[in-house]
């Protein structure tokens, strides 16, 4: 079912949801960028439709809405542990087609690999998605190659057309709100891109022997191990647990988890100081191989969804997609050495 809403109707619709939903969308933080007088587009709770940034790709993905950057697992005193209260509100997330495929990648780790994660499951079960169509590919996107340019598993699709919002609904409760509002019904087709400027080729014979290739060596010196590629990635799920105490003498504190990055120093450190993958090139290999091979070996689909945010945010201009495209010759290189 398709609807066309004007700005005012869109706000009325959002208002009608606020009692039940926390609404997350990409939002422009004016002067919120790293550099002076630059903006940052990232996720936040929104109040009105005009806060939703449609024209640019968000620097950070939606994932922080259901996988908080920092999440308290429990509070403790000497003898008691208590888990934090979590909101009973539902969550509505505005995201892109590729991002919705990324949700599936997150689900695989948090719900399928081992036992379901208590905290993720609670937020995830409360979440519904609004897919924001793309009428043109953004820089560094390669969703078509990853087969993530189109998605189905959403409650609403939305496309902004100057001052109108073109919406399709797959969710009866939303459809009913639109009908009650008597908004214009129309045959709306969600937008999606059919080609990107960047295409990637994942070799069919790819395996972990490619770690021996010399292709990784250049990243030893190029990469600065800042972790931006991981933190902006909609499919990276790693975290580290921390215990903190609220005061030096206090018996009270919390155990929390925070996002972790396989590119940042310390990720593999074990007791006694030994670390694996000291070289940044091998960290790059570890990350890339998870995104386009090792995850797939377990879950049957690629982890990477081709959003290109890693390339957008790399301060050293390292391209993830370009690295993928070197894998084919790297496989040939290691084959000749064996």
């Amino acid at each position: 079912m398709g609807f066309i809403l004007n700005m005012e109707q869109m706000d009325t619709f959002l208002d009608s949801l606020k009692e039940k939903y926390l609404i997350f969308a990409p939002k422009r933080f004016i002067n919120g960028g790293n550099f002076s007088d630059t903006d940052c587009i990232r996720y936040d709770l929104i109040n009105t439709a005009d806060e939703i940034e449609f024209d640019e790709k968000s620097k950070y993905s939606f994932k922080e809405a259901i996988m908080p950057i920092s999440q308290t697992l429990f509070y403790f005193t000497e003898s008691i542990t208590t888990t934090p209260e979590m909101s009973n509100k539902k969550i509505l997330i505005f995201l892109r087609n590729c991002d919705l495929h990324a949700v599936d990648s997150l689900d695989k780790i948090y719900l399928v690999n081992g036992f379901p994660d208590h905290y993720y499951k609670k937020l995830r079960n409360a979440t519904e998605f609004v897919v924001m169509g793309c009428d043109k590919p953004f820089e560094n996107c390669f969703c078509v190659s990853m087969d993530t340019n189109k998605s189905e598993d959403y409650s609403l699709s939305i496309d902004k057309d100057i001052d109108k919002y073109k919406i399709t609904s797959k969710e009866d409760s939303f459809t009913k709100v639109f009908q009650d509002m008597k908004v214009e019904e129309s045959d709306v087709k969600p937008k999606f891109v059919l080609s990107n400027d960047i295409t990637v080729n994942i070799p069919t014979d790819l395996d972990n022997t490619v770690s021996k290739s010399k292709m990784w060596d250049e990243y030893d010196t190029r990469c600065i191990a800042c972790g931006r590629c991981n933190f902006v990635c909609p499919t990276c799920t790693c975290f580290t647990m921390q215990d903190i105490f609220y005061s030096e003498n206090g018996k009270v504190g919390e155990r929390r988890r925070i996002w972790a990055s396989c590119m940042v120093d310390g990720y593999t450190n074990i007791a006694g100081g030994h670390q694996f993958r000291v070289n940044k090139g091998q960290r790059m290999r570890f990350k890339i191989m998870h995104k386009v091979l090792n995850f797939r070996k377990t879950f049957g689909k690629n982890m990477c969804v081709g959003c290109g945010r890693c390339d957008d945010s790399c301060p050293e201009y390292i391209s993830f997609s370009n690295a993928i495209n070197k894998l084919d010759s790297a496989m040939k290189e290691v084959a000749t050495h064996e």
Partner: protein
Amino acid sequence: MNRYIPFVSEILDIIKHTEIEYTFRMAYDGEVSPGQFFEVSIPKFGEAPISVSGIGPGYIDLTIRKVGKVTNEIFEHYIGQNLKLRGPYGNGFYLEEFQNKELFIIAGGTGLSPVKGVVDYFAQNPDQAKSIKLIVGFRGPDDILFKKDMESWAKTVDVTLTLDNDPTGQYKTGFVTQYIPNLEFKNKDEVATIVVGPPMMMKFAIGELLKLGLKEEQIWMSYERRMCCGLGKCGHCRINDEYVCLSGPVYNYVDAKNLVD
């Protein structure tokens, strides 16, 4: 079920091996196999993955090396006090794999901990294996773990204890790997081996075993990686498509040989 919440376990006994390595005997009733691990924690200080070094009625042994914030704090605890535990996690050693085998265990340093439960079991049930040989190496005389256990094992297990350096002249010296070429097998097909220790030691030990003509599937090993959540979520322990905390830390070499850190 929230698997991040630890349970309370009492320290039943503390066995001191070296200045920095103690075994904490912790109250635990439940299924557990040698080679599995627990996340041991002290709120305010954090968690550390510790492999099970012994199993008995109503208890498990956790041999802990004092090397960091959490373990330093654990060493401040006494018998009768509590620690918090989560687990057991991972796949341990399946004893059935080693029954009726000529069992050879090669361990380096604290690598003896995860495999100690296997030695214990066959030392107490010597009829369940064709033979048992343990080659274990430590750095020096002050680093030797499980001294008393080794004395009692000696009745049924052929123990070779070797040190990297021995100023006292009481012990054999040399790396564990140099004892491997002289191993004698009655029937090569009935041999099973376990190799546990630092990454380099495992690599060379396995190389020596393969030189003796053993098949890859006859070699078992245990990986020490950064097990942070123990639940296949946090990612720190992953190698290739394996979450060591879920499918490991014990692997057969057939699977392990392809793992690239």
